[in-house]
Symmetry: C2
Subunit: 424 residues, 2 copies
Amino acid sequence: MAKGSKPTQKAKTTGLAVSPMAPKAFPKLPPLAGVRLATTAAGVRYQQRTDVLLALLAPGTQVAGVFTTSKTASAPVLWCRDNLKAGEARVLVVNSGNANAFTGKAGLAGVRAIAEEAANVARCRTSEVFMASTGVIGEPLPDDKIVRVLSRLVGEGAAGNWRAAADAIMTTDTYPKAATATAMIDGVKVTINGIAKGSGMIAPDMATMLSFVFTDANLPASVLQECLSAGVGPSFNSITVDSDTSTSDTLMLFATGKGGKHTAIAKASDKKLTEFRRALDGLLLDLALQVVKDGEGAQKLIRIDVSGAESDTAAKRIGLSIANSPLVKTAIAASDANWGRIVMAVGKSGEAADRDLLKISFGNHVVAEKGMRAAKYSEAAATKAVSGREVVIAVDIGLGKGMARVWTCDLTHGYIDINGSYRS
Amino acid sequence: MAKGSKPTQKAKTTGLAVSPMAPKAFPKLPPLAGVRLATTAAGVRYQQRTDVLLALLAPGTQVAGVFTTSKTASAPVLWCRDNLKAGEARVLVVNSGNANAFTGKAGLAGVRAIAEEAANVARCRTSEVFMASTGVIGEPLPDDKIVRVLSRLVGEGAAGNWRAAADAIMTTDTYPKAATATAMIDGVKVTINGIAKGSGMIAPDMATMLSFVFTDANLPASVLQECLSAGVGPSFNSITVDSDTSTSDTLMLFATGKGGKHTAIAKASDKKLTEFRRALDGLLLDLALQVVKDGEGAQKLIRIDVSGAESDTAAKRIGLSIANSPLVKTAIAASDANWGRIVMAVGKSGEAADRDLLKISFGNHVVAEKGMRAAKYSEAAATKAVSGREVVIAVDIGLGKGMARVWTCDLTHGYIDINGSYRS
């Protein structure tokens, strides 16, 4: 554990020490017209904690989604991808404790059973039921435990249950994650509420983990999809905890259209959407950073700014090479200004780099340039720059105009503790 | 630390607990005609341990090498690459404690100063001097400390100093690494001796760390290079400790030609070389496995056999995706038969995979097939298979004929301990 970190509380649900980067308080999310939420402890795997979330959505709700790129995607991911084609949603069912991934025909049958009961109790089509599961891979899902709570949950759905919803989808998370934002669309105020969960198997090139975002704006599925696909790049797809991509990553955006009445929007490029998109992007980044701040064992947030690469893609690859390096992450955990490991990570990225043009800074302190340690290098200043809760590493490649910003957390004993015992 | 691991001894030089997979004894390496070795404690960085190795090679010695693919390769790597073109070697100087990487013009000047003094005392050309440095990146190399010991070392060079040589090149290694083999070339017995060091920043697609192999066979540089380039693929390039590629990785093969006289060999494909190449390949694999068994914090050796992939390249990528997954490595550390994480790692590799064709075994026990947990799955049998010092994971992709075998070690608290404090 990093120096100076004395967690004084335990996460309510997991028993793990709460991340020192947890927000001071759960944000105040307003009720959202057209969304009702209910949760329960169905005993899928965990004892004495909620593990099923039901979200009931107003008729006509439009939906968009981004999912894991894994070749071994979970049964609910396959189900959602199929249903997304129609773009309409009435129910979202999420369970924690079991990923329903690599569970064969039984896994798919479980998804169908849950969808049929959800459609039955919510009086909609199964194609309007969306689902996500997170937890252990490969264990058969006890879908009957979920099926039998749905009718009760439908009756309990209420508008303000955001905290309970964020709690119910947690696995090894040490705090519930949520964010809210408002924006004007053509003079009408709309609200966006989102929840997310981490906190291991976090790597980009997918939607990363589970996150569900809801808005009362009135937007068609095609517009939502374009907004979401654009927003995921610099947020969820720019964070990494451990380079491991989950089979279950799901990010969905639901628009109920039940807020104030605004002009119809047919294109994501419509200028009336500018403020909404900015608010959505900000909310996605907020949630993504909450995920990385709760990375398993994390004691520090590390931001890596890469500039001067041959392209933005090259910059991102270099950034992720640094962010995924165990040697970089353990050094930062120990507040060791070991900038040589940044040099190593740039060198191994496979992207063009020139030793003599490379410039590396910790915070505002330049540590390396012109192919060697900076002339004004100060061990004290460099150490100070990596000693706080939030560490900024800037790398200028000096070759082009490519830029990227990625985030990761440090690698501590906590990660080993959690992942050497998570399943049992 | 994994259960049941009680290291009872400390490494002589580093103070770290000796890897439980260390060989019982240092192997008996015979003297090798044409090679003399000397070591000393020059105080490059470490106190009270040897840190400089000088190898004196008979006139006419031929040399081949494979080096890191890093874009920020160290000064000695750049030097060796240049000198390799002529293919002749008389001196090898290795220091531990400082990598002389990212040290700018001063770093290159240091290499030149050492080469000039070495050429001077060994009476050869600077183009016949090879060099390697391992240790901290970015610190200026105190080359004067190395320069001033060379004349004395030349006088001390002796034929049997293999143990001292293996000791002097160690950094965070917990035991010295060496191997020996013999082979017949056209009825004449030749000997191969090799030494290596690890033990962090170990990842393939390069020569991996430092390893120096010597033979008394009489082989031209071009033949040596072909043998070495072929041999590195299934050995050093098939191991990974932490996915981090060093700036300094160097594998060199020297042939003195001072053993028994055998026919001239002009091509690596010459059938008279078959036995020699097999012996060399075996020795390289032996050394590579010694490196991974001494991976920082390692308590277990993990072998991953991938079959049925679309190509050998695809199989290797899948194998490395598993081998580099922190979640797989922490699970094995805890003797947790968490095969779902293997599914995840296959899925994220980017290579073609079909959930329903995938077959995963731990040892001889099939844990998953046909898209789900194997019908005869036994938690006890699976746990037993991952509980020993050596764990074998077999993955059949079921799509083609591509095969690969890679090795890694588990990820334990020891890795965090070592890398949170190595530099200071």
